[in-house]
């Protein structure tokens, strides 16, 4: 993976920067050029809240090549306090204790290591709130 591919998404993955449509208020993450709700083309920058609720999850046991060393690991979709939904890994917990509806917070973590060039990728993961 070339570093430029990781670098260009840093603002989303490192800082949770999203766009808020200045016409209808829809928050898009990652940033888009046109609002999927109303077609407006101007957004203001907003930062996503770092807490939310888990809507669904799965424990992945058969992983793609760049994640085989992490399996089994859990992924899930969480709805943040402002209604934005994200997919991420659920980490720092016993995967058997994950439940729909549990509260999570977002933390900055290493996501994967590219085996060919050794480039490390960072981003967000979900951590259950009680941990």
């Amino acid at each position: 993976m070339f570093p430029s591919r990781i670098w260009r998404d840093c603002k989303h993955r490192y800082r949770l920067e999203a766009g808020k449509c200045t016409k209808c208020g829809k928050i898009v993450f990652p940033y888009r050029l046109i609002c999927p709700e109303c077609g407006h083309r101007e957004f203001e920058k907003v930062i996503l809240p770092d807490t939310g609720k888990l809507l669904t999850y799965s424990v992945i046991r058969v992983a793609p090549s760049q994640f085989t060393d992490q399996a089994p690991y859990a992924i899930g979709i969480a709805e943040l306090e402002n209604g934005v939904k994200l997919l991420a890994q659920i980490t720092d917990c016993d995967v058997d204790k994950i439940k729909v509806g549990m509260e999570i917070r977002i933390e900055f973590r290493r996501i994967q290591t590219d085996s060919h060039q050794g480039v490390l990728s960072y981003g967000y993961k979900f951590v259950p709130k009680w941990y």
Binding site: D9, P30, P36, L55, T56, Y57, S58, V59, I60, R61, V62, A63, P64, S65, Q66, F67, T68, Q70, Y73, I75, G76, I77, K85, L86, L87, A88, Q89, V100, I111, Q112, S121, G123, K125
Partner: protein, 386 residues
């Protein structure tokens, strides 16, 4: 628009076909379709293939496959819409004939998936998801459908047993299909003790990794009459997309692209779901068949699982689904799948389905539903015996 009919079908045996390459698989299916139709030439060819580049490092399939089919200079187009590539190639061929641009068009599909290992195939298939916001985080295809399954179970009380019933039914049907990759029956106990892939989905909830090709010939109804073949007319065609990332959708317990594409196809055909006799749908995972049944309007949301358990979608049921064995038992060479669905419904409508899986009472009208990714694209067709 001109009336269009399917006049020839062909497919390879699906499976781990180590002795045959991508080009071998395609040409074998294509020649079978040409022979079945009895046509003496093609005007054009639409080829569904998801990701030959990642599976075997080969792109430029239009040139390669026209060349190896002995059709030098033929207009040949590769069509890609992930696992809906085959269904979309069929739709492009339909549009081409209906519009008057071409008279005789092949819609083919192919995928050669076993020239790389399991983790490589998982990676290649994941290219149908949002690479930067799903795959980057470790999502896989079984994982994405597992997220849908957990949400559907949470909202409607869908059970493990309902998922198993889909697999058991499709393997039962596939056990009678000589082209199926896994032509054997399974029990609910076997499904529920099979290896976990992405909870709650186990290996017997998942369609396999498959090599295979399929092809059909489309032409005008007028030419079809001259060929003297049974005329299976295309009454309706629909195609829709949805947000590619599952988390971007409002509701992941339904498949909006399927509902929209079906509505288009029904409108074009002047029919409703109640007019259909049977269907081939995209059961890439057991939960997919249940959600597709609901998204097509066949059952109320949350009611499809119970219907499968009650046998309503079995060969003898009120609305048979996946008489071929579906993707689950027949196999899922992704680019070929949508075309292979057409092969099955044409066989059923002609009364030619093999080994006792032919539907009784002369079915007249069929629906096919083929989707890409986690439902980010869907193609629906309605066919009828003229």
């Amino acid at each position: 628009m001109r009336d269009v009919a399917v006049v020839g079908v062909g497919m390879t045996k699906f499976g781990e076909i180590w002795e045959k390459s991508l080009r071998d698989l395609y040409v074998e299916a294509a020649l079978a379709a040409i022979d079945d139709a009895g046509v003496d030439h093609l005007d054009s060819m639409q080829i569904g293939c998801m990701t030959s580049g990642l599976f075997v490092g080969q792109e430029h399939l239009g040139s390669l496959l026209a060349d190896y089919l002995g059709q030098r200079n033929l207009a040949a187009t590769r069509v890609e819409s992930a696992c809906a590539s085959g269904g979309l190639a069929f739709r492009q061929a339909f549009i081409e004939v209906a519009s008057g641009m071409s008279d005789i068009v092949m819609a083919g599909g192919v995928e050669k998936m076993t020239d790389i290992g399991g983790d490589g195939a998982t990676y290649a298939l994941a290219a149908a998801a949002d690479q930067e916001y799903e795959v980057f985080h470790g999502a896989t295809f079984p994982g994405l459908y597992a997220l849908m399954a957990v949400a559907h179970m949470e909202k409607y009380g869908t059970t493990r047993g309902m998922l198993s019933a889909v697999s058991v039914k499709n393997h039962h049907n596939g056990s009678m299909n000589p082209f199926a990759q896994y032509p054997f029956k399974v029990t609910p106990e076997q499904v529920e003790s099979s290896v976990m892939v992405a909870s709650p989905l186990r290996i017997l909830d998942c369609s396999p990794i498959t090599d295979g090709g399929a092809a059909v010939i489309l032409t005008t109804v007028d030419i079809a009459k001259k060929l003297g073949k049974p005329i299976i007319k295309i009454l309706g065609s629909g195609h829709a997309t949805d947000m590619i990332a599952l988390h971007s959708r409002n509701d992941i317990t339904t498949l909006e692209a399927t509902s929209v594409a079906a509505a288009q196809a029904f409108k074009m055909a002047g029919k409703t779901i109640k007019d259909m006799d049977f269907a081939e749908v995209h059961d890439c995972f057991t939960i997919a068949e249940i959600i597709v049944m609901e998204s097509l309007g066949l059952y109320e949301p949350g009611k499809a699982g119970e219907a499968v358990l009650n046998g309503e979608t079995g060969l003898e049921g009120s609305f048979p689904i996946n008489t071929s064995g579906g993707l689950k038992s027949k196999g899922h060479p992704v680019g070929a799948t949508g075309v292979a669905q057409m092969v099955e419904v044409v066989k059923q409508l002609r009364g030619q389905a093999e080994n006792g899986r032919q539907l009784k009472n002369n079915p007249k009208t069929a629906l096919t539903q083929n989707m890409g990714g986690s439902g980010g694209s869907t193609v629906v067709h309605i066919l009828e015996v003229a």
